[in-house]
């Protein structure tokens, strides 16, 4: 079974995003960038499926600038077999990314698309579900367990108030939630090996996909700041303060 794993290069998880003074966006100049954490979980799950003998090939794909090659090399070092960069300097909306991924699915014919539920920059939580809709494939979003067997994936999903298990016929789109696994660190030998794995670069324009923006960013601002209150000395002080504030 071939598994396609879309990955995104985003601001590093530990870096605090700062809004640009001109309100046009978030300042990403000289900021550490990494693979989106949910994408790492998706890569890890694909590698585990390969280690179990369920997946035969893992293709990582990214849609982004030339530097996204580094993100793809990370996926290759974790265990993906080859990588595709759809190169563009445009900042694409989730629907446009889903359309690009649909075109890649058409070329690669994977039986499973395994991807993160959400990127920590745009926080849209939409691309996987949109891809499933465009392909008319079943989806299992927010997966915390994936078992592939007999042409189906049995997926346990994080839902409001608990867990739900569904069966989806393959091919399908599965999006990874936090508890699916703990991604491995790539070892130095694997990082070296990853440099020799194939990485194919395509220009976005060569796919013939309409990626025009549907939203105009009017401005990006800082959220209102909450100021620190007071320190209390004892639990009893705390309770009396809360009573005064009318919340107890």
């Amino acid at each position: 079974m071939k598994v396609l794993v879309p990955v995104k290069r985003v601001i590093d998880y530990n870096v605090k995003a700062r809004v640009k003074a001109d309100q046009t966006g978030v300042d990403l100049a000289n900021v550490k960038m990494s693979m989106n954490p949910f994408c790492e979980i998706a890569v890890e799950e694909a590698v585990r499926l390969k280690e179990k003998g369920v997946a035969s090939e893992i293709v990582a794909v990214s849609v982004g600038p030339t530097q996204a090659q580094e993100t793809l090399r990370t996926a290759l070092a974790m265990g993906a077999d080859r990588a595709i960069l759809v190169q563009t300097d445009q900042d694409l909306e989730p629907l446009a990314v889903a359309k690009v991924l649909k075109a890649i699915v058409g070329e690669e014919n994977p039986e499973l698309v395994l991807m993160g539920k959400q990127a920590i920059d745009g926080d849209n939580n939409a691309t996987g579900q949109m891809l499933a809709a465009l392909l008319d494939w079943p989806q299992a979003a927010f997966a915390s367990e994936v078992v592939v067997e007999g042409g189906k994936a049995k997926v346990t999903r994080e839902v409001d108030g608990g867990l739900q298990t569904i069966d989806v016929n393959l091919p399908a789109v599965v999006t990874a939630d936090l508890r699916l696994n703990e991604p491995r660190y790539a070892s130095l030998p694997n990082i070296m090996k990853a440099k020799k794995k194939p990485l194919d670069v395509k220009e976005l324009g060569s796919l013939g996909v309409d990626t025009a923006a549907k939203l105009k960013v009017v401005k990006v601002t800082e959220p209102p700041k909450r100021s620190a209150g007071i320190k209390v000395e004892t639990a009893a002080d705390l309770v009396s303060n809360l009573k005064t504030a009318g919340v107890l």
Binding site: F142, V159, Q164, V218, E233, L238, V239, N241
Partner: protein
């Protein structure tokens, strides 16, 4: 103008999130309809019909809708989309599950997690874990939005909208429900609770989390939350997670115990009315947003707090 709001319910009762999304719909303007899709829809629709200013309530009943299958919701909502200029869904896990499919089928953008309606085509939403707010203007003829319920006041009751049933879509051929484990709890729902008590990684174990956080929550009639670090470490289940990748809450009182205050956690609770932090590290970032901070080890502070509450 007409706006369709997808109701939040558990196939038994209507959830308050619905009232809040109706408020967002009213800010867009025009006629507001509510869709109740699932099972036991007649009783839920009767509750939805009482929300003030609602034109009508539509019901669609099937087992697959009751199971929340995204493919079934997609077919139903896309089928109804012709009559609406905007489709608003609460940004719950269920809303996030199907709403992007609806947007993709309509070939429009989804505007996720809307916290403010500026005008019928312009909306504000948090990005970068709430470190920035993005104002976007949509050029799509139809708007598909998920709405963060905590950002809107619940619409008042007092209406008497008519209820109409619409036909449910065919069962999805390629997706099948297996089972569901919903944790039954006597505690209030995390998203709707007036008080939330949350524990962090300082708890050190699931046993300690249960021993410290849960009795305090029960004493206060509060819901239980957790930081991502505590969930990651296995001290608390994922649906307790408060933060940008978990639940966003805005209770009257939020008590953070042994939580350092990572930015992604703050994104999930900083709109609470009053925030209390109990942490032995005086430099923990959580104190920068707390109205009342108690620098103390939770091991002594929580029993004292229990005592002080009487």
């Amino acid at each position: 103008m007409a706006v369709l709001v997808i109701a939040d319910h558990d196939n038994a009762t209507l959830k308050d999130n619905t009232h809040k999304v109706v408020t967002a719909a009213q800010a867009i303007g025009g006629d507001v309809d509510i869709l109740v899709a699932g099972t036991n829809t007649a009783a839920i629709a009767a509750e939805a019909a009482k929300i003030g200013g609602v034109r009508k309530v539509l019901t669609a009943e099937s087992a697959e809708l009751g199971q929340g299958l995204a493919e079934a919701f997609q077919d139903l909502v896309v089928g109804l989309a012709g009559g609406y200029d905007a489709i608003l869904t609460p940004a719950t896990t269920q809303g996030k599950n199907f709403s992007p499919r609806v947007a993709a089928k309509l070939d429009v953008a989804q505007i996720s997690d809307v916290i403010e309606v500026v005008s019928p085509d312009t909306f504000v939403r948090p990005i970068y874990a709430g470190n920035a707010l993005e104002t976007v203007q949509s050029s799509d003829a139809k708007k598909v939005l998920t709405v963060r319920p905590t950002a809107f006041k619940a619409a008042a009751e007092g209406g008497s909208a008519k209820v109409e049933s619409v036909s449910a879509p065919a069962a999805p051929a390629k997706t099948h429900f297996v089972d569901q484990k919903i944790v039954k709890s006597a505690r209030p729902d995390l998203g709707a609770a007036k008080i939330v008590v949350s524990g962090g990684r300082a708890m050190g174990s699931a046993e300690e989390f249960q021993k410290v956080i849960e009795p305090l929550a029960d004493k206060l009639g509060a819901a239980v939350g957790a930081s991502r670090a505590a969930v990651d470490a296995g001290y608390a289940p994922n649906d307790y997670q408060v933060g940008q990748t978990g639940k966003v809450v805005a209770p009257e009182l939020y008590i953070a115990i042994g939580i350092s205050g990572a930015i992604q956690h703050l994104a999930g609770m900083k709109d609470s009315k009053v925030i209390v932090a109990i942490n032995k590290d005086p430099d923990a970032p959580i104190f920068q947003v707390a109205d009342f901070g108690l620098v103390a080890d939770y091991k002594t502070a929580v029993p004292e707090l229990m005592g002080a509450l009487g």
